[in-house]
Symmetry: C2
């Protein structure tokens, strides 16, 4: 994007809700790089995956919480926020959509469950280049300064590219380390890692059983080109993501070996 062009419009959303420190830090990081519009959920929506609201009406309220930056909260999911932004607020497509900064990791298999990444993916489906940012720290008191540094660096360098792939979709995770310890940015593939689930069984005050999801994260992937490896070695991980879920390898195998 050359200097002669007008400032890019940057849509910002998240899944932790408009009041989360993460989105405030994302706005801070990029506000000099474009015209920012914030459209985010009015409450935390973590673990919502690519949920959309079909059976209920949605509300939007204009908020005054980011200084002179236009901001709206909605009653919808992160995906709803992107749809509402394009259709009812911007009345068109922004040049870039940024989602986050998520409080907690969205590397490896987390991309599937992540509301942060779903918002970014929705934008990518709509031909809006898009990035989801996550910090490997769940705490609301987390230090976002190193994250802000890398967010700005990544967004600025992408905006400098001549032409962005309209479906560009990046899953960026940032280690929870002081800036001087972070070694740089690594382009990675998604690690094959998963949660070994466990449900804690409890009894309610009336003696009836209920279950609460817990689980241990296990990385089965020994590759040194994965996001998990990069983060463990104090790199910012960047995984290019796609929404074509076709398994072409399995497709060829089935075409050869499977008769119905």
């Amino acid at each position: 994007m050359t200097k002669a062009k007008k400032k890019p419009t940057i849509l910002i959303t998240n899944d932790d809700g408009i009041t989360a420190p993460g989105i405030k830090n994302l706005v801070e990081a990029v506000k000099e790089l474009g015209k920012i519009v914030v459209v985010a959920p009015d409450k935390a929506q973590s673990g919502m995956g690519h949920a959309i609201t079909i059976g209920q009406p949605l509300r939007m309220t204009k908020m005054d919480m980011f200084g002179d930056i236009e901001a709206w909260q909605t009653s919808g999911t992160p995906v709803d926020c992107v749809k509402l932004a394009v259709d009812k607020i911007l009345h068109g497509k922004p040049d870039l959509c940024l989602s986050g900064i998520n409080h907690g990791a969205n590397h490896s298999i987390n991309v599937i469950y992540s509301g942060t990444m779903s918002a970014a993916m929705e934008a990518s489906i709509e031909s809006i280049p898009s990035i989801g940012f996550s910090l490997l720290d769940y705490s609301y008191e987390a230090d976002f300064a190193p994250a802000r540094h890398f967010v700005k660096k990544i967004v600025a360098s992408l905006l400098k590219q001549k032409k962005l792939d309209k479906h560009l979709l990046l899953n960026v995770n940032i280690p929870s380390s002081p800036l001087e310890l972070i070694k740089g940015v690594k382009i990675c593939r998604q690690a094959y890692a998963k949660y070994e689930e466990d449900f804690e069984e409890r009894k309610d005050p009336h003696g009836k059983k209920y279950y609460w999801l817990t689980g241990e994260f296990i990385n089965f992937d020994k590759g040194k080109d994965t996001d998990v490896w990069a983060l463990e070695h104090n790199y910012v991980s960047v995984v290019p993501v796609q929404f074509d879920l076709t398994n072409y390898k399995l497709k060829s195998q089935l075409e050869k070996n499977w008769k119905v």
Copy 2:
């Protein structure tokens, strides 16, 4: 699977809820092919994507609605149902997980939003071969007989394979046509199609605006190897699906051209 082996355990779930006709028809279609266990949401969960329940406890209740087949309803999402089934009901992995039969299409981009496919994907992540079935008819009065025919045929032919890929994940969509008009089963790739969103703006009884999601489905993909093409030509579409969302093509491009 040879006759000498014991009957395979087949976990059945859905996203329309345990009382939906679709899951009843799925059970009917495959009950002779294995030991069936049903674990499904207690209410409709359409459009829930890959949502999981983190912030709330989950309930499970044993139900007596499929004759002598073990059945449970849970207060969770389709993904929660798979996790609960493995951890708390089966205490291990079933040989196969089937999800559906969904009331409505899950072809092309719908795979991203679909609770039916998310349940199947969750199973695949857990190394359980898995299939999601959808009928291109939203009506609860839809005729499921042709769908039952193809579900049975597909599941039976897969169970006959020597060894199933442990991450096998198929997105099967069935046209809403009489059996004699359906031409057969086609292995396809996911079409690039999307919804052109529109939100209907309305006013509540107190004069406050609200928005309701509507949208028109548009297929941008002219390929004859896509699921949308197959369904339009009265084939059952089978798309092999994967949960590695890495865009390897974009990864190579960025590795070459992008400096941060």
